[in-house]
Amino acid sequence: MAKLNILVVEDDALSRKVMAAELKAHAVEFAETAAAARKKLAGGRYDVAFLDLELGPKDDCSGLTLIAPAVARRAYVVVMSGHDSEETVEKAYELGCHDFYSKGLVGESVARVLARFTRHKDLPETEKLFTNRFVTEDPETRAAVLDALKYASSDLPLLILGPSGTGKTSLARVLHEQSGRAGAFVAVNCAAYTEDLLEAELFGYRRGAFTGADGQRKGRLLEADGGTLFLDEIGAMSLSMQSKLLKAIEEKSFYPLGSDKPESSSFRVMSATLEDMPAMVQAGRLRFDFFQRLHGKTVALKPLSRRPADVTALVAHFTRGGRRLSFAAEAKERLLAHPWPGNIRELKRFVDLVTAGHEGRISGEAVELLLVQARAESPKPGGAALSEEQYRYAREHGLSALVDRIVDAAVARCLAENAGKKTKVLAELKVSTRLLYSSLERAGRGGL
């Protein structure tokens, strides 16, 4: 292997000694703190950057903040992990890290990481994209993504269609990364907010704009200045909100709530939905002019059941840097025959269950049992059930406001999925008429 320039960001002196010995054939520089690492990244050129996430005894994963600058300097970014939480691992990949080095894992070594780097380096750019940033081996999906990439650097709005869990947000992020825009990628899930809250979230607010607005807050539109605003579940947005947002997109200017001074922001809009947008226009749930503004270029993602080649590719992707899984022939058949109604999200849950509870070769029977669990298992309390953003919201506005917000989001989504039929919502969400109507009242849809 040719001599590589390597940066190791590690606060622990003994680990630095060990890394120095393991990497002695290469030109290695060390940084003990995030600040020192940033300085080195700004001035140097590294083929590989090994990043420890916790830099210091009381550090809260400041190594994560180094991923973006290291990726921007075109380094192969390897996060060194002792035993990081699932959220941290996902966050690291989301931020663009290429690989994990699981310290202490049997069969894992620095040499293996460098071998993976060599393989990665030799891959053509499109292969890197499809094996790392948007994992797919499906020829049709690859063609759709490559076609969308041709428009990545234009200002044309992009609309991503596809069932839940097919990778719409990941694709939007990839398209933003390839757009050359210097600004941030700002994602907003429209179904997670009531109308008032969505307005405050998007446009921001000034102190006293509404009860509880004790300070001012920058909106997501302003955060996306020079970057991309990704609106997920766009179908959940009310007609009046569509109208306000359309004006802001067209004029590149808007008023934060409670402010008489306009803010300007130039952002590219990407949106996603699982709904049939032309049908929504026909049903009067989507403004035609808003629809026209959103669907400059449309990309459709197929469900996982129609991308069978992606099942094994995604399993390998989800277990990167961890234990390699080995499936018996019958187990593979079952995996490929499974319809994956929850798509990639369900497959990810399945992989988590397998890696947590199975050693050795995985039998067909074990796969069958885990598939049932992956489908039926509800979110873990304190884990996926409460996101960081929800927790912060509860602390800021009180727990009952958060509960209302969750209820309203579930009602809005269920209504949208059932073409506005309230009886369906009552049955599917198993809620009382009173609760449904108070939610509609809050969302300003009492007359629906």
Partner: protein, 62 residues
Amino acid sequence: MTDEALRKLVHDVNSKCSSLKGAAALLKDAAPAERMELLRLMAEQAKALAAALDRFPRLSGG
């Protein structure tokens, strides 16, 4: 707090034991001065690990 403290402990045990193992593997071929330095750092690491284990019941609340 318990979950977070436990996660941190598991993280520390894994990473510290891993570097201790890595350093132990270097001892055989290390020059005398380097070997002394490695042993000093290993002892510090082991003490830090023992301290983290000792602290855990207080951090986790029992």
